[in-house]
Each structure stands twice: as structure tokens, then as C-alpha cells.
């Protein structure tokens, strides 16, 4: 059992508050992704948990035990760093062996432990190399092996795929869930890549400026983002955001897009006549016939394929740009005039002034540690 809990943690550097009264609980065996732009405080949070820096206020519990005042070497966590942080003067074997040496394992136990984890990560053949002689991918795997080898109950992974190329990153992304599941460890995984976040996280904590802005499953974050900022961070192409003012008619609440009424599903009555922003995921838009009800006339500006999707930039008669995405190989329109339709069910409505999503249950302020 090794759940992880941060309780009202504050960290300041000089006058700057890097973590602002942050509380967070990660369940035993859960993988929690910390996602956010650089400077959001993700790495600082990991280091606090690891014990290499100390919080100014608040407590850190691992497996229910207060670890706040314990030095790093007694916390029993494993950590992989963004820049790998391999020991340049030691071979890959010795690098991986360091956690086992610390707990005074026997030579044979060390050998067996290193071998098995190296096998798992497919670096068995480079164990005698120094980091300088390793490729980037091998370095990254060595760093990961070092974090895993002692089977620590808590694993901290600080953007471990940041410095490897796209192909390796993809490969590792698919490989990691199994590795982590096998270990049964509680994982905190830091990344700036929304795909990694969605692929690996049981839950995602979206951080910004030292505060958790939203905490939820990938599904919740993607489909019910707390605000515009978060909606923009997830998804490629980025969500379309258009200024609208909802109105009401007999069929319900609708917004006008290029003189076409698009009806929305959702409890948006309070927003009638207010300044809003509608968020339309590119994949929730599709090319349709002119005869389709609520078809919006557009002109196609450019078609840009993207990883098995076709992304089309279209412009409405009022000059607004919209991105439409569809699976490669499905019919669409690549030039000239066209019509698109909006899936009103998946449309998101935001308050223009605050940026918060209307009807968002998740607009919780986690600053003071209130539960979601």
C-alpha cells in the first residue's frame, strides 16, 4: 500500500510562489499525470515528493506516513528525470544498480535485479556501456530501469520521453502502461504532451501557475474541460472557439453560426443573451450536403493531413476560421465551397468573461484543498 498525499503544500522561491497551497491524493497503484505548461510547478511538485527539496508549508504522506521531514534516501521512491540524469562515470549496469546498492543487496541479487529489469526494457546488450556510448533511446531506457529496479512503491517520472525522438516516444508510450501495471506502483507522471497525458493517465491533473486547475479522467478533461484554457491544451488540431450569444426558440437554446441556428443540448438557459464562446472539437464537425438542416456554408482554404486525419481549414461567410478534422480515407471536401454541420451534443459553451465552461461541475478550486 502506497498512496501518496500532498496536503496544503506551499513552495516559494524568493518572493515567487511556485506551488500555492496545493493538495492532491494519488491512490495506491494509480497513474496520475501532471500536465501543464513549463513553469506550472510540475517538476517542483515531483521534487518535493522525492524529498530533494523541502516545502515551505504543508505535509507530504506516502503510504499514510508523514514523510515531510524525511531525507530523500529514506523515502523509497523511484524517479526518472527529463534529462535522464545518468551518472556519466558509471556503466549502464552500475547506473541501474545504484538503488540496489543502497539497500545493501548482495552482489548476486544486484546482478539478477539489474538483468531482469534491463531485459524488460530491452537494454540487456548495452549494460557495460557508459552513458556517453548510449543512444538517446537507450539512455532513456537506462534511466527508466534505474527508477524501476528497486520496485519502489512510488514512481516519479519527470517528462521521461521529452528528449527522445517522435518514433521512440511513440514506442515507449505504448510500452509504459504494461511496465507500470506490472510493477503495481503508484505513479506520478509529468508531461507537456497532451497525448502522453491522455494515453497514460488514470487521472490527469492540469496545472498552471502552481495550482491544479482541473483534476479528472482523460475522458472528463477532454469532454468536459473546466475552462477555455484547458480545452485548448487538449486535442490536435486545437478546439475551435467562436464568439456567440445564445438565444432561445421553441426547440430550445441555439447559437447563430453564419446565420445558421445550431441547437445545443445542455442546461444553458441562464446564458441566453450573454456573451459566450462556443467550443467545437474539429472532429465533431463534418462535411455535409447543402440540404442538411443547419448546414453552415463555408469555403475551404487549405487541407493539411495530420497523422491519419485530414485537417481542413474552412472560412465561414462571416470570415471566421474553423478547423474540421476527419479520418483519412473518409469523404470530405478539399477545395471550393462546402457545407459543414456541427454535432450540437458535443459542443462546449464557455462564459466569455471568465472563460469557465457553463455547467462545468469541475470548476472546483483545488487551491484550498477542497475535494472535487
Amino acid at each position: 500500500m502506497a498512496s501518496l498525499e500532498l496536503r496544503n503544500v506551499v513552495k516559494r522561491y524568493k518572493s515567487q510562489t511556485v506551488l500555492d497551497n496545493l493538495s492532491l491524493t494519488v491512490a495506491d497503484g494509480e497513474t496520475l499525470v501532471l500536465f501543464g505548461p513549463s513553469g506550472a510547478g510540475k517538476t517542483v511538485l515531483l521534487r518535493l515528493v522525492a524529498g530533494v527539496i523541502d516545502p515551505d508549508e504543508g505535509k507530504i504522506f506516502i503510504g499514510g506516513e508523514d514523510m515531510t521531514d524525511l531525507d530523500a534516501e529514506f523515502r523509497g521512491v523511484g524517479m526518472a528525470f527529463q534529462n535522464f540524469a545518468l551518472f556519466p562515470h558509471m556503466t549502464a549496469f552500475d547506473n541501474i544498480a545504484t538503488p540496489l546498492e543502497a539497500n545493501r543487496s548482495s552482489q548476486s541479487a544486484i546482478k539478477a535485479g539489474v538483468q531482469s529489469v534491463a531485459e524488460l526494457l530491452k537494454i540487456g546488450h548495452v549494460l557495460s556501456h557508459k552513458p556517453r556510448a548510449l543512444s538517446n533511446g537507450q539512455k532513456q531506457r537506462t534511466a527508466l530501469a534505474r527508477a524501476l529496479v528497486g520496485s519502489p512503491p512510488v514512481l516519479l517520472l519527470d517528462d521521461p520521453l521529452r528528449n527522445v525522438d517522435a518514433k521512440l516516444r511513440f514506442e515507449m508510450r505504448l510500452e509504459l502502461p504494461r511496465l507500470l501495471a506490472d510493477r503495481g506502483a503508484t505513479v506520478v507522471y509529468v508531461t507537456q504532451d497532451y497525448k502522453e497525458a491522455m494515453a497514460l493517465g488514470d487521472r490527469i491533473a492540469v496545472m498552471s501557475q502552481g495550482v491544479i486547475k482541473q483534476l479528472g479522467t482523460p475522458e472528463q478533461i477532454y469532454r468536459e474541460p473546466a475552462n477555455i484554457e484547458i480545452a485548448r491544451l487538449f486535442g490536435d488540431p486545437t478546439i475551435n472557439l467562436l464568439d456567440v450569444k445564445p438565444s432561445r426558440d421553441a426547440k430550445g437554446i441555439y447559437v447563430g453560426l453564419s446565420n445558421v441556428q445550431v441547437h445545443l443540448t445542455g442546461a444553458y438557459d441562464a446564458m441566453v443573451g450573454r456573451d459566450c464562446v462556443i467550443g467545437l472539437r474539429p472532429e465533431a464537425l463534418s462535411f455535409v450536403d447543402e440540404s442538411t438542416p443547419s448546414a453552415i456554408p463555408v469555403t475551404v482554404e487549405a487541407e493539411t493531413p495530420l497523422n491519419e486525419k485530414i485537417v481542413t481549414l474552412v472560412r465561414t461567410v462571416r470570415g471566421r476560421e474553423i478547423l474540421v478534422s476527419r479520418p483519412a480515407g473518409t469523404p470530405g471536401q478539399s477545395e471550393g465551397r462546402a457545407h459543414i454541420a456541427v454535432d450540437g451534443k458535443s459542443a462546449l459553451l464557455f462564459d466569455r468573461a471568465s472563460g469557465d465552461r457553463i455547467g462545468s461541475k469541475n470548476v472546483v478550486n483545488l487551491r484550498s484543498g477542497e475535494a472535487a
Binding site: A166, K167, F170, R173, L174, E175, L176, P177, R178, A181, Y194, K195, M198, A199, L200, P218, E219, Y222, R232, L233, F234, G235, D236, P237, T238, R281, P282, E283, E301, A302, E303, T304, P305, L306, N307, E308, K309, V311, T312, L313, E321, L323, S325, P327, A328
Partner: protein, 374 residues
Amino acid sequence: MSQSALAISGVDKFYGPIDRGVHAVQNLTIEIDKGEIVALLGSSGCGKTSTLRMIAGFEEVSRGTISVAGRKVHTLAPVKRNVAMAFEGYSLYPPLTVRENMAFALKAAKLPKSEVDAKVASIAKLLEIEDILERYPSSISGGQQQRASLGRALIRQADLHLLDEPMGQLEPQLRAVLRGRIKHFIKERGLTAILVTHDQTEANALADRIAVMEGGVLQQFDTPDMLKQRPANLFTGTFVGEPPMNVFEAYIGAAADKINLRLPDGLSLDYDKDAFSGAVRDELLKRERVVIGIRPYAVRRSKDGVPATVSANQWLGDQTHIAADFAGGSLVLVEHDRTRLELGAPINVSIDPKNLHVFDQSSGAAISHGMELA
């Protein structure tokens, strides 16, 4: 004389003495039509940047000729080639504001001020840098500098626009829409653009045709669709496409009316002989060992497929990536719906011979794509 916008003919580049130095670009011949967007794609050291620098005139051509708009330019100074360039390191003039940087070439060409202002305003709007026009390069972010640098290149009226890794540092949220706008801008004005990139996603998004380079040698020059459907060799096959192509080594065997492809660790894919055209079948049966490739989106789940277990199931919002392990290997499949599969769940995957790419085991050259010979 041809009317192509750019004709590179038999170009070699040596660093060091000719024929003895490092052979960075080897006998490159490419012709690009006016109005085309072409990407030079490859990993670092593949020769793409040397090629670009030779076109721009920053690097001497060791052998061969380069013509821009029908004019032989490879011996001219860069300034006389009528080529605009956006540099990878941005190279904005530090003492000038973003506006002055962008207007620099136009002012030098003595355009009237009103026209310069109008052009700057329209490009600034396109690249979303209107609010930083009066700022200096040192005070804006990397992504903004990259957009300013792009603007400085696109604003010029030139025979050729060279863009060196033009979008690598862009803010991810802006990338898709800027790709669309830039492509539209180039097409609308009939500009000819050459884009150098290591990112195949970038190349696929923007280019009409892509020249894939590796080790100084042009591997294939074709449309994005053709690169995916008919890769000339294993290198292009695996380099282009994300997620990357699934690749296996396989032994070829024939039995009665079947052709089977045996993977080293046991799994055997059995196909009816009729699944391949006669020519392909003959070509395959000549060999013992080949490399087979299948694109992740062409892998299907079907009851009569190969039994496998799910080792990863990752939903990215609009795609699901699934990794499946089977005896002796694993492969990746992509589905556009939200698929929910537990880790360890059994599935059956099938590889339609129509989507099978076969490569020569030693040279890597393509042998067949589906029913057709390469």
C-alpha cells in the same frame, strides 16, 4: 529551357576536397513546378540542409547545376538569386522591431510606405503577431520569433521561398490553424515554397510533394499519399507515417494453394495464392526471407485474425492507439473511434494482403505493395 521554378540537376556536395571529402549530397536531381510546395524531409545529417543552403547560395555547389525560374543561379551571389528564406535560428535583426524586420526587404526594394504597411499588416494578422509588431526580437518568445521570421520570408515577392524548419517552435495550439493559413497563403499567391524539415508530420501537412533524403541520397520524391501507399524502400516506409509502420521479418513459404509468411518466432500468416497477383507471387516465391510492413490504420480486428493480447489501449480524444502482442511480436493499430479494451484482453488482428508492403531483406527496396509490384 524548362519552366520549372527550381531545377536541381546532378548536384553533389562535398565538404572537403571534391571526391575525397564528406559526400553530403549525392547526385541530386529534382525539379519543382511553379506554385508547388515541396518538403525536403530527413533526419539530421541527411543532406537536406546542405541542399537548401546550396539553393540559397550559402554553400557552394561541388558539382551540377541549380536553376531558379529558368535561370542558372548556382554561381550567383545569394542576393542575386531572388530567393526568400526563413532561417531555422530565425536570424531576426536584433536592433529592429518585428515590423522593421518584416518590412526590411520591401523597403530595400523601394516599395511605397503605404504598400509596405498594408503587406505587413496582412501577414501579421495571418501569423497572429499584430500585437508584437513594435517589439524587439529579444523581448518575444521563441514561437513568436519563429512566426516573425516566417513573416519576413513570406512577405517577399520571390521566385522561391525557402523555409528551414519553419514551424518547429510554434505553440502547439496554433500549429494546425497556422499550417492551414500558410498553405492557403502560398497557394493563393502562387508562390513556390521549399520546406526543410525532420518532422514528417509537418511535411505531410504542408507539402504537395515530399523528397525523402537519407545519407545524402534522395530516397523517394512523391506525393504524401504515394509515400504512404507505395514507399520505395523500407526507410521511407518507416520514416513517413505516424504511428510508424509495423515491420516484421518473415520467411516465405508456399504450400498447395497458400502462401505463408512466417515470422521468426512462430506466427504464420497464411494467404490464398490468389490474394496476390501472379507477378507479385512469382517475385515473392523467388525469395526465402523478406521484410513485411503494415500501416497501423490498415490492421483490422476480425474474428478470424491472429490471436493476440492487448498491451496498451490509448485514447487520444479522436483516435485510439492499440498495441497488441502475439507470439513473437507485437503490432500497433489505430482506430478512429473510442475503443475500450482492458490490458491483457484477447483480440484477433488481421492483416489484409491488400495492405501488405513487402521489402527486400538485404537492400530494403520495396518488392510489392498489396496486389501490385513496386
